[in-house]
Each structure stands twice: as structure tokens, then as C-alpha cells.
């Protein structure tokens, strides 16, 4: 059973809110609507998977302010903004602030649904990466300082003999460290260890 995905809708206009909710539901997603940015912030829990559609021009807290607030609070929920006719500066600001994209009202509903799809995928990716990073941190916390030293040299591609000389320890000791590192990091090969520890290079999907 896949985890619940929710599309959050924030818009001060009731008709727009309700129509977006129905649209989202018509493709089998759950929608939750809010009449203001503050109402949304009060109810939002970061463990809820999904994305956010918000109008920009709203009385009280605007869509852009909402974006800033979420960012400041450390939340990464993907945002799609709805702009008024010709409101380019606002759209640009939203994009620079990390929005998935913007649509200008009145918009093609299909285009919005495509963006919702993109946003949901992005949300999954963000969560997976966060999970991975958390796990990595956990594992690395198990290493001793010496083991961390050895691991750094191992993932740099140095041979055990070289590591031994660098650290002024015996080759045998290096091998022992290496074994413990592989176990604690739960890596089954050097390649896997490197994948875990090193920052991803650009050509890796």
C-alpha cells in the first residue's frame, strides 16, 4: 500500500479552491484546501507526502511569503504557484525561491496536473535522499576516529600498503580496520562504500 499523497491547495477564493480540489480528486489524488497561508501553516506536518499549490496574490500572507516561511522553517515540500494575468515578476521570484513551476490564471488544467505529477515525484526524491543521508550519518557515527581516517584513504583509492605507511601502522592493522569499516558501513564492496560516502558525481542518475 503506497503511502498517502496529499495535494495541499491554498487560495483565498472559494470557487478556485473547490475547483482545484475536485480536479485533483478526479485523477485519484487526495486534496486538502485552505483559505489562507496561515491556516495551511498551522495544519501542515512535514511527514505528509505530497505537494502544495498556492495562489500568489492573497490578502494577509502572500504565496511568496508562504514560500519564504516554509523555507525558513526547513520544509521542502514542492510548491506550484498560481499567478494572476501578467504577473511575471512574482513568477520569477517564486522560481528563484525554488518553486517547481508557476501557472498563470486561467490555466490549462492538464498543464497543472502535469506539474502536480512532477511535484509529487520531486517530493519522493527529496524524501529518499533525506532518508539516505540520515542513514549514512547513523552508520558513520559508529566509526572510531582511526577508522574514519582509514576510510578516507580507502575511498581515495589508496592500497593498504600505502595507507599503512601514511598512518605509520602495519598493513595487517589496516586490513583489520578495513573489515570493521565495511561491516559498520554495511558496504559489501569498495565500490559500494565509495557510492555511500563520496558526493554524487553529475553523470550519475
Amino acid at each position: 500500500m503506497s503511502p498517502q499523497i496529499t495535494v495541499f491547495v491554498v487560495d483565498d477564493d472559494q470557487a478556485v479552491r473547490e475547483s482545484l480540489a475536485l480536479l485533483v480528486q478526479s485523477v485519484g489524488l487526495e486534496a486538502k484546501t485552505f483559505a489562507s497561508a496561515r491556516d495551511f501553516l498551522a495544519a501542515y506536518r512535514p511527514d505528509r507526502r505530497g505537494c502544495l499549490i498556492t495562489d500568489i496574490r492573497m490578502p494577509g500572507m502572500s504565496g511568496l511569503e508562504l514560500q519564504e516561511q516554509l523555507s525558513a522553517d526547513g520544509h521542502h515540500i514542492p510548491i506550484i504557484v498560481l499567478t494572476g494575468f501578467g504577473d511575471v515578476p512574482a513568477a520569477v521570484r517564486a522560481l528563484k525561491g525554488g518553486a517547481v513551476d508557476f501557472v498563470e490564471k486561467p490555466f490549462n488544467p492538464q498543464a497543472l496536473l502535469d506539474l502536480v505529477q512532477q511535484a509529487i515525484v520531486r517530493d519522493s526524491e527529496i524524501r529518499e535522499r533525506a532518508a539516505r543521508e540520515a542513514e549514512l550519518a547513523e552508520r558513520m557515527a559508529l566509526l572510531t576516529p582511526r577508522e574514519r581516517e582509514v576510510m578516507t584513504l580507502v575511498v581515495a583509492g589508496k592500497a593498504n600498503k600505502v595507507i599503512a605507511i601514511d598512518l605509520s601502522i602495519s598493513e595487517r592493522t589496516v586490513e583489520l580496520h578495513r573489515g570493521r569499516i565495511m561491516k559498520k558501513m554495511q558496504a559489501r564492496s569498495l565500490a559500494e562504500l565509495m557510492r555511500l560516502v563520496l558526493p554524487p558525481s553529475h553523470d550519475m542518475a
Binding site: A15, V16, S26, G84
Partner: protein, 402 residues
């Protein structure tokens, strides 16, 4: 050259053959001639036309200006009825005026400066201002009329009135410019909703959904949102329309509610508490609906601006309408904003006076002009307890506005 024509000369003294009276008569005649020449000169250098008529309206004398104004020579005028110089709409009345005056002593034109329509020899009509006085010389009454051609003045007045209308229109447009972006945003909302609901319905139908309640709800919303959009656009078109609007009977309370409908979202969002005290039985005023709406919108907008610029609590806007017994309709718009600087309650009506960074400073000046055109008054007073009250009075429905 003596161009003044009379049916009687003033000095009708024939020289006497008696030598003893000779030189005295000679001198008297010289004096009289001199007098006559002076009076002649005064009359002929006068800028305004001076016409003398008898009790039957027959012209006795005219000065040079009269000839110039109407295009006739003195000979052509003397002996004719003065109605020759009036356009047909006044001709019939004139003899009546004289008779009536002689009978009752009650002047219609006599003594009162009045605008009527004169007619040139070539047939053209033009506006003239006339003032008439009665002379009693001998037994029978004579009337002297002072005639001024006011075509130039009338043209200037019309020009000024047109400029004023243009200005009011420009102010309306620029206000509308601000209003338009707000209203365009408003129209986008129902359009967006319509498109979304329609798409949702299509998808539901394609996926074989049998949720007729949801489908019905969505379609009902589509219809409602379409109406909403139409209403907004209709309102915008009415505001933008310029021109000779007819004055119609308008229910002031109803008008206030319509204007509030335009700004209700913003009122709510800005936390402004609205108090309406509208007299339910009207009052009705005869007015140019669009112009009065413009004025009310201006006052409400100003109140909202001042409230939004101040603290977030205690924002109140109160609108009252009331019909006085004296046939006056009264409207007040009051706010709990920061009020006026000392003695500032009149300054704000000056053209181009504004306290806003991007304000035009035309709203109140234009509004006052509109209200005064309707025979009413617009003024501001400080609100006891803080803030401002804007007062509008207008003649109520059955009164004819000037």
C-alpha cells in the same frame, strides 16, 4: 458725426426772432448741443447695446453698439418692435412681459439681469444678457435695455465645463486603471474555477464515475461562476462609460451595497469591521448613477487606505444613509483612522493634494465637483474618538437639481 436717431429731439427749441433773447437763446442752444454731443458720445462709446423702447415695445433709440451687435443700422431699427432682435422663442413673450409689468408692476425681465436669445440680422442666434430699467419722462413710460453679447462668455463656460468633464473622466480612468488590475484579478478567479470544474467533470465522466452528486455540484458551480464573471465585467464597463448620462432615480442604500460588493473581499482580508446603517426606505436621489457610485467608491477606498496604513486592530468603517424631512438625502462614510492634521479637513479637497506616495490627489476634488453638480455638498469633519467623517448631502428624489 451724430448718428443717434430720435423721433423727438431733446432740444426742440426754434431760434426766436427777438434779438434781446437772441444771445441767451444762442448760448442755451449751444449748451444743449454740447450736452447732447456728450451724451451721444457716452452712448456710442459704450461697449454694451443700449436700446430705448416705449410702452408698446417700439424702439425709440439705439446706440452704436446695438447696431454692431445685431447687424442693423439705427434707421432699420427705430420704429420697429424690439422683438425683431429676439429669437422666436422669446418674441411672443416679450409684449406680454411689458403689458404684464405695466398692469401689475411686477417685472419679468424688467430690472433683472437675464439671459435670453437674441437674433442677428443674418438670422444667427446668440445668447445675450439684458438688464432693463424703466424711465418715466413726461407721462408715458419708457424702457431702457442694456444688452450684452455673451457668446464669448458662454463658449468659455462650455469649454470649462467640458474640460471639467474630461478631467473627471481622466480621473475616473486612472482610478479605473487601478481598479482594473484589481478587477482583472477578480475575473480570473471565476474563469479559473470554471475551467477546473469543467476538466474535472470530463475526467470523471471518462473514468466512468457515477458520482452524479459531485458532477451536478461541479456543473452548478460552472454556471454560478460564469454569472459572477459577467457581473464583474458589466460593472467595469459601466464605470468606464463616459458621457451625457441621464439622471435617474437611484436608491442610495442600494448603491452603497453595490459599491461595497466590489471591495468586500479586501475589507474582510484587511480585518476592517463594517457597520452599515442604511435607511431602508431609500433615500432616493435623482442623479447620474455612475458618478455617485464613483464618489462613494472614492470615499470608501480612502477610508480603507487610511485604515490599512494604521494599526491592525480597531479598524472600523461605518456607512450611514438617511433621508431628512427637508428633502435632503444624507450619506456619511466614517473611519477610525488617523484623522486630519490640524485644520486639514478642507485641504484634502484641493486638487492634487494627497498624502499617499502613489496617489493622484484628484479623487476628493472630483468627488466634490460631482456632488456640487448635483446640487449637494461634500465635506469632511473629524470623528469624535478619532478618525474622519465624510459627509454627503444630495437633494432627494423629487427635487429638481439646478
Amino acid at each position: 458725426m451724430d448718428r443717434r436717431r430720435t423721433s423727438q429731439t431733446i432740444a426742440g427749441v426754434a431760434p426766436s426772432p427777438a434779438a434781446a433773447q437772441g444771445s441767451e437763446l444762442e448760448r442755451t442752444r449751444e449748451l444743449l448741443d454740447d450736452r447732447e454731443a456728450r451724451l451721444s458720445a457716452i452712448l456710442d462709446t459704450a461697449v454694451d447695446g443700449i436700446i430705448t423702447i416705449d410702452e408698446h415695445g417700439i424702439i425709440e433709440s439705439v446706440n452704436a453698439a446695438t447696431e454692431r451687435i445685431f447687424g442693423y443700422t439705427g434707421d432699420e431699427l427705430v420704429g420697429n418692435n424690439v422683438t425683431l432682435l429676439m429669437s422666436s422663442s422669446h418674441r411672443e413673450k416679450h409684449d406680454e412681459y411689458i403689458t404684464r409689468y405695466l398692469r401689475t408692476g411686477e417685472p419679468r425681465i424688467i430690472g433683472i439681469g437675464r439671459e435670453i436669445e437674441g437674433q442677428h440680422k443674418d438670422g444667427t442666434r446668440f445668447p445675450i444678457d439684458i438688464a432693463v430699467s424703466e424711465i418715466r419722462v413726461g407721462g408715458s413710460p419708457l424702457f431702457t435695455g442694456l444688452v450684452r453679447d455673451i457668446s464669448a462668455r458662454r463658449r468659455a463656460e462650455d469649454e470649462a465645463r467640458r474640460r471639467n468633464a474630461d478631467l473627471a473622466h481622466a480621473a475616473r480612468l486612472s482610478t479605473i486603471g487601478e481598479l482594473t488590475s484589481g478587477i482583472a484579478h477578480e475575473v480570473n478567479q471565476p474563469l479559473t474555477a470554471i475551467v477546473n470544474f469543467a476538466e474535472a467533470c470530463l475526467r470523471m465522466l471518462r473514468s466512468g464515475s457515477t458520482d452524479t452528486q459531485k458532477l451536478e455540484g461541479a456543473l452548478g458551480q460552472i454556471a454560478a461562476q460564469g454569472q459572477r464573471a459577467g457581473h464583474i465585467i458589466r460593472h467595469l464597463r459601466r464605470l468606464a462609460r463616459k458621457g451625457e448620462a441621464k439622471r435617474v432615480e437611484v436608491d442610495l442604500g442600494h448603491l452603497v451595497r453595490e459599491v461595497l460588493g466590489l471591495v468586500s473581499n479586501e475589507l474582510r482580508a484587511s480585518g476592517i469591521a463594517l457597520h452599515l446603517m442604511l435607511d431602508e426606505s431609500g433615500p432616493a436621489v435623482k442623479c447620474d448613477r455612475i458618478q455617485i457610485e464613483q464618489v462613494v467608491l472614492n470615499l470608501v477606498r480612502n477610508a480603507m487606505d487610511v485604515l490599512e496604513a494604521g494599526p491592525a486592530h480597531g479598524r472600523e468603517l461605518t456607512i450611514r444613509t438617511r433621508a431628512d424631512t427637508a428633502g435632503i438625502a444624507a450619506l456619511t462614510v466614517e473611519d477610525t483612522g488617523e484623522g486630519f492634521a490640524a485644520g486639514g479637513s478642507e485641504r484634502i479637497f484641493e486638487l492634487f493634494f494627497t498624502t499617499k506616495a502613489d496617489g493622484l490627489g484628484m479623487g476628493l476634488s472630483i468627488s466634490r465637483t460631482i456632488i456640487e453638480d448635483h446640487g449637494g455638498r461634500l465635506w469632511a469633519s473629524p470623528r469624535p474618538g478619532g478618525g474622519a467623517i465624510f459627509n454627503v448631502t444630495l437633494p432627494a428624489g423629487d427635487q429638481e437639481t439646478p
